[in-house]
Amino acid sequence: MSLTELLDTARTMCRADRIRLVQCLVDDLAREEGISSLEDGHAYPISTPLHAFDAAATMLAALGKTNTET
């Protein structure tokens, strides 16, 4: 299939499918270049304890106590 034929076909697709097509091509190119972006369906663990302010307050108090003792 030539590029012209491919584009003609792509233009008959709905908007959502055209966006998915572009995303697939970008992902393929990025992977080939070793700069892959996030993969669909892959789990990415995040260890960041966001908003753990209760822990933060407890730790600051403990640190203050340590500083006072030394």
Binding site: S36, S47, T48, P49, L50, H51, A52, T58, M59, T66
Partner: protein
């Protein structure tokens, strides 16, 4: 003594290349006479510093002796954590006392967060240049 140290963003996963660059920094942690050198993640979104279980053991810390418990969030919410205070040295910057949430979790990096790493150091991130700079905090506080 130096007042600033510069570090590169590190590629955390070669399979992902540039997009996986993160601000990891070498730091030496000390508890009494024992010290370990680790690569720590500077995480401005983290409320606290986090120390993985094995790193605490390598420093000679004893879980049962740390009596102050804290509750973490996110992936670490299901693991118990206790307060552990260490000395931290970064390059030629003055050593500081850092307080950690010592978690029983193993699959976690050393995380440097708001309490109290970012209270002790001023950090400038230059992500576009893959660099960040760590400064000893100013004596005069804003």
């Amino acid at each position: 003594m130096a007042q600033a140290e510069e570090f590169p963003f590190i590629v955390a996963d070669p399979a992902f290349g540039e997009v996986s660059r993160l601000p990891y920094m070498p730091i030496t942690l000390q508890l009494q006479q024992r010290s370990v050198s680790v690569s720590a993640l500077l995480d401005t979104g983290s409320a606290v510093n986090v120390l993985p279980y094995d790193a605490g053991l390598r420093l000679g810390a004893v879980w049962e002796r740390q009596t102050t418990e804290v509750h973490l969030t996110g992936n670490l919410a299901n693991e118990p954590a206790r307060v552990l205070t260490l000395m931290g040295s970064i390059g030629n910057l003055p050593s500081v006392r850092l307080v950690f949430a010592w978690t029983r979790a193993a699959a976690v990096p050393v995380i440097l967060g708001q309490v109290n790493f970012f209270m002790e150091f001023d950090v400038c991130f230059y992500r576009s240049r893959f660099l960040f700079e760590v400064n000893a905090k100013s004596v005069t506080q804003v």
